[in-house]
Each structure stands twice: as structure tokens, then as C-alpha cells.
Amino acid sequence: MSEETHTENSISLRLRIIAYNLGISIEDLKNLDDNKIEELVVKRKGTLKHTVNIGGLIPRGNPLLGLGKFLDSEKVTKRFNEIFS
């Protein structure tokens, strides 16, 4: 299998998995806005109610950033090197 095919295969699997996890169709996933998708991500974990009182920022902005849910890049690098050394 060529490298391009591997990447295409990976993208197609990724689409299926994300759509399954968000409970939407692949077509919807391709067409939804980023913020709408993030709302689905947050709703899935049942935490969207906490976003309501942040000055109207959340409905227009990025729900995960609004909730202060950042992925710690230092931890990520450390863990990556731990696992795959």
C-alpha cells in the first residue's frame, strides 16, 4: 500500500470514528462549523451548562477554550517520550 493510500485510509477511518463518537453523520461532520462541533464535544461530556454565564462569549466562541479546557503540551511531550522511547 502506498504512503498516500495509508494517509487516505487513515483520514477515512478518522472520519468514521469521530462521526460515531459525536453521534452525527460523516456528511454532517464535514459541513459543521468548528464551534458547532466543539459544542457537540462538550455536550457529549455533559458540561455545556457550565458555559452559559460567561458573558455570551461561549455561544459565539470556542466552548472548550471558554471552559479553560486546554491540553497541556508539556505533559504531552513528556508522556510521548515516556511511551515511545
Binding site: 504512503e3 498516500e4 495509508h6 494517509t7 485510509n9 487513515s10 483520514i11 477511518l13 478518522r14 472520519l15 468514521r16 470514528i17 469521530i18 460515531y20 463518537n21 459525536l22 461532520l29 468548528d34 462541533i37 466543539e38 464535544v41 462538550v42 457529549r44 461530556k45 458540561t47 470556542n62 472548550l64 477554550l65 479546557k69 486546554f70 491540553l71 503540551s73 504531552v76 508522556r79 510521548f80 511511551i83 515511545f84 522511547s85
Partner: protein, 241 residues
């Protein structure tokens, strides 16, 4: 439209096809936003906006340099996101999944002709080795050469994830049956302990009565007491008290 915009367009297509989806995948899996990407997006936008703003006065080399640098940020985003996802997959399958199904006999379940544990370990090992290989390639450079290898690892991880998603009902049913069995064993042990307590209580009363009878008989009729003792011994042996 200057022809270098085709190259810029290529970068945006790469963002749309790869980076955008990887960001969503990370968000879904971690429920967190990968903030290191924000800085890369900013840097990427800076280079593209320079071309838009000053492209007309830039030399061909200057434009090429800005496009090359913008492209490097797209590569950086892809690599960062792929790494974040490989960590999630590794921790999921090597830790959380094992913990969730600890003690559940799922290893020898056959799914479409494949033993569960065979498929699981083959995929996990292959994916892990591919990530290590990609990491080595990335260190030697150029970094973008490592992307297809990371993607190969992702295919292995993702196939395993889909395999588990598709067979989750069977896995959960097995887990529920195991839980039911464990609950029953716990209940049986509790019942057994209850009946043991009752038995000890009866034995205690019986022994006390015998002791009292022997005590009384010994002082009145020693022979009668010995006979009672023999009978008690027989009763103990027959009924295994």
C-alpha cells in the same frame, strides 16, 4: 492572481483535509483543546498574510520563503496532533481498556474468525512500533517524511478502535455475565458464612448441654457419664459436628 497563490491554496487544502480533522479528533478524545496548535496557526497566518500584504513587492525567493515557512507550520501542526493522538490510543488500549475489562474473559472470544487477544496485541504492537519508527525518522528529518509513518500507526490504532466499537456489545455482555457470576459467588459466600454461624451456635449449645449432663452424671453415676461421652463422640463423628 499571482501563481504562488496556488501553492498557498495547497497549504489550505492540507489544513482542511488533515489538520482540521486531527484537531476535532483530539478534542473528542481529550475533551480539551490542543493549545500548542493555536500558536502554529498564528504563525502560519502571519506568513500567508505577509504574502497577501507585501507579495507584490517581494522577490520570487522571498515569496517562496514565506510559503515554505508557512508550510512548515502546517507540518508542525500535523506532527503535534498525530503525537497527541498516538498517546491517547496507547493509554486507552494499554491502560484504560485493560482496566475496564480486568478479569473479564474476553481474550479467547472469536470475532469474525479472529481471537480477540491476537487481534488486539497484533494491532497494538504494530502501531507502537510504527510510532517509534516515525519518531526516529522525524529526528533525522525532514520532519514531514515522518507524517505518513505516523499515519500508518494511526491506521492500526483506528482499526483497533473500530474493532472494539463494533464488538462492544459482545464485550459488554461478557463483562455483565462475569459481573453476575462474581455477584453470585459473593452472595454464595455470604450465605455460607451465615449458615456457618448458625452451625457454630447450635454446636455451642449442644456442647454446653452435654458438658452439663456429663458434669452432673459424673458425680452421681460415673459409668453412665462414660456412656454419655461415648455416645456424644459417635454423634460428633457421624454428623461431623
Amino acid at each position: 492572481m499571482p501563481e504562488y497563490w496556488d501553492k498557498v491554496k495547497g497549504l489550505y487544502i492540507n489544513y482542511h483535509t488533515n489538520v482540521g480533522l486531527l484537531i476535532i479528533d483530539v478534542e473528542v478524545k481529550y475533551n480539551q483543546f490542543p493549545t500548542q496548535i493555536l500558536n502554529e496557526i498564528r504563525s502560519f497566518t502571519t506568513h500567508v498574510s505577509r504574502i497577501a500584504n507585501e507579495g507584490a513587492t517581494f522577490s520570487q525567493e522571498e515569496v517562496e520563503e514565506q510559503i515554505r515557512r508557512a508550510g512548515r507550520h502546517i507540518v508542525r501542526m500535523q506532527l503535534d496532533l498525530l503525537k497527541v493522538l498516538t498517546i491517547w490510543y496507547f493509554d486507552e488500549f494499554n491502560g484504560r481498556f485493560k482496566e475496564e475489562y480486568k478479569g473479564v474473559p474476553i481474550d479467547d472470544i472469536i470475532f469474525a474468525g479472529i481471537r480477540f487477544d491476537t487481534y488486539y496485541f497484533q494491532k497494538l504492537t504494530k502501531a507502537t512500533n510504527l510510532v517509534k519508527q516515525a519518531k526516529r525518522i522525524e529526528l533525522v528529518g525532514p520532519a514531514e517524511v515522518a507524517i505518513p509513518v505516523y499515519e500508518k500507526a494511526m491506521v492500526e490504532f483506528q482499526e483497533l478502535e473500530l474493532f472494539i466499537i463494533e464488538n462492544k456489545p459482545i464485550l459488554d455482555e461478557t463483562k455483565a455475565r462475569k459481573q453476575e457470576k462474581t455477584d453470585k459467588e459473593i452472595q454464595d459466600r455470604k450465605d455460607e458464612r451465615k449458615s456457618d454461624k448458625m452451625e457454630s451456635f447450635i454446636r455451642g449449645i449442644f456442647t454446653s448441654l452435654i458438658a452439663a449432663a456429663l458434669f452432673a452424671a459424673f458425680f452421681e453415676e460415673p459409668l453412665f457419664a462414660i456412656m454419655i461421652a461415648i455416645m456424644v463422640a459417635i454423634v460428633y463423628m457421624v454428623f461431623k459436628l
